[in-house]
């Protein structure tokens, strides 16, 4: 019975992870930074090989461990939430530099893995200043993917919902996969809006945001049905 209970709670968490997509769409945080400009030479599935989903997953899980086990909870009280953004930024930036060092092409492809295993690439020493030159920056001069709000948002939700490392692992994984699916959907919408006959003023960001609103509505309804079926919350 206890095993079934555990499986039930894990199932509920997995469903919530799917909900993360809805939350992500609701918040609209950082998604514009994630959705790269459409490139006709690349297929939409090229996003799957982007390391940013792995960075998001690793950084949110590592930060969950830090905020749960290392930082003493009453130390900062309710002001602790203001540490999420700088902490997430630092961890993601370091991970981004590590990925730039090991995968200079910017994609975690089988070929890049093969090159890594057989040490075909002459990488030299780990110099953050030099590696930073290969990372794209946003308007604030911060790394494009670390400087958005996805990692702090994932951390905020995970810290409030996960009570064990397994819960945290499932939530972080679900959040990263949710982001990936959201990015794929938004890229497709963006691509379609340039092909279909849409009014000029609606093309691009307005149409994407309107589509996000409609998708958010659908996911809200679907997740409510799932929760009712599972009997949680």
């Amino acid at each position: 019975m206890s095993i079934l209970g555990e499986l039930g709670s894990l199932g509920a968490l997995a469903v919530f992870s799917g909900l993360a997509l809805n939350l992500l769409l609701q918040f609209g945080i950082g998604i514009s930074e994630i959705v790269e400009p459409s490139d006709s030479r690349e297929t939409q599935w090229a996003s799957l090989f982007s390391p940013h989903w792995i960075i998001l997953f690793v950084s949110s899980f590592a930060l969950w461990l830090f905020f749960t086990y290392v930082l003493i909870p009453p130390a900062f009280g309710f002001l602790e939430s203001f540490l999420y953004f700088p902490a997430a930024l630092l961890v993601s930036m370091v991970l981004e530099l590590v990925f730039a060092y090991f995968f200079p092409g910017g994609r975690v492809t089988p070929a890049a893995f093969e090159s890594l295993v057989h040490r075909k690439t002459n990488r030299g020493s780990f110099k953050p200043g030099k590696l930073a030159g290969h990372i794209s920056l946003n308007a604030a001069g911060l790394p494009r993917y670390s400087g958005n709000g996805l990692a702090p948002a994932a951390l905020f939700l995970t810290l409030r919902l996960a009570i064990s490392p397994v819960d945290a692992l499932v939530l972080c994984l679900g959040f990263s996969l949710g982001c990936l699916v959201a990015a794929l959907i938004l890229r497709e919408i963006d691509k379609r809006s340039s092909l279909e006959t849409a009014p000029g003023v609606l093309r691009g960001a307005p149409l994407t945001i309107i589509s996000m609103g409609l998708l958010s509505l659908i996911f809200s309804a679907v997740s409510a049905i799932f929760f009712r079926v599972l009997g949680v919350f």
Binding site: Q26, F27, G28, L79, G149, F156, I209, S216, L217
Partner: protein, 211 residues
């Protein structure tokens, strides 16, 4: 050193909130209640101005390398100070808007204000930071004034023992609030159409030439 004049228009320019959409998430979640929008406008002005004041006056002391990172820490510190002030004034309101206020430093640093005011005189930099926050706050209040009465049939103001004072708009008559507008989905839809309208108006007023 003579400062560079402010080139980009604060509402129609290339760095205007509706052009960059850095705070789209904040616009959606903060405009469900007018009380939240008003409190967050104060937070925006506080965080933007305080961060720029520290960066401008500490120009010679702050390191050039990694200044952007320092801006993140400064913005978060300013945000936590504001939350502390709100907590002293109204603990209930502070509890309700903690997550929303954590998004303010995210918007402030994401808009690149620290980077853009680097070449300006201190007074110009502070004025620019204040005006940018005021414009974004104005958009938040305008959206909240549409969403709350239509979506919930009420209008809330910060204050009171519960943190918010709710005023009925529709009365007890046959008024049916359109709940979807109060939800995040409705916020996104409204923002999308609002953005289209903004672009149309901007194109007509020749705002694009400025970019």
């Amino acid at each position: 050193m003579k400062g560079t004049p402010i080139q980009s228009h604060i509402f129609w320019g290339a760095h205007a909130p509706l052009s960059t959409l850095t705070g789209a998430g904040l616009m959606v979640v903060a405009t469900s209640h007018l009380a939240f929008a008003l409190t967050l406008t104060g937070a925006l002005i506080w965080v933007n101005v305080l961060t720029v004041v520290i960066v401008s006056f500490g120009k010679t002391l702050l390191p050039k390398k990694g200044r952007e990172l320092l801006c993140v820490f400064l913005a978060c510190f300013s945000g936590s100070l504001y939350l502390l002030l709100i907590f002293f004034a109204s603990p209930f309101l502070a509890m309700e808007i903690t997550f929303l206020i954590t998004l303010i430093p995210l918007y402030s640093t994401g808009s690149g204000i620290c980077r853009r005011v680097e070449g300006l005189e201190n007074e110009d930099a502070i004025l620019k930071a204040f005006l940018e926050a005021l414009v974004f706050g104005g958009i938040l209040i305008a959206l909240a004034l549409i969403r709350e009465p239509l979506g919930s049939g009420s209008l809330s103001l910060p204050g009171g023992s519960q943190g918010m004072v709710v005023l009925g708009v529709g009365g007890t008559g046959a008024y049916f609030p359109v709940h979807i507008i109060a939800n995040a989905s409705g916020g996104l839809l409204l923002l999308g159409y609002g953005l289209a309208l903004f672009r149309r108006r901007k194109a007509r007023s020749g705002g694009e030439d400025e970019q």
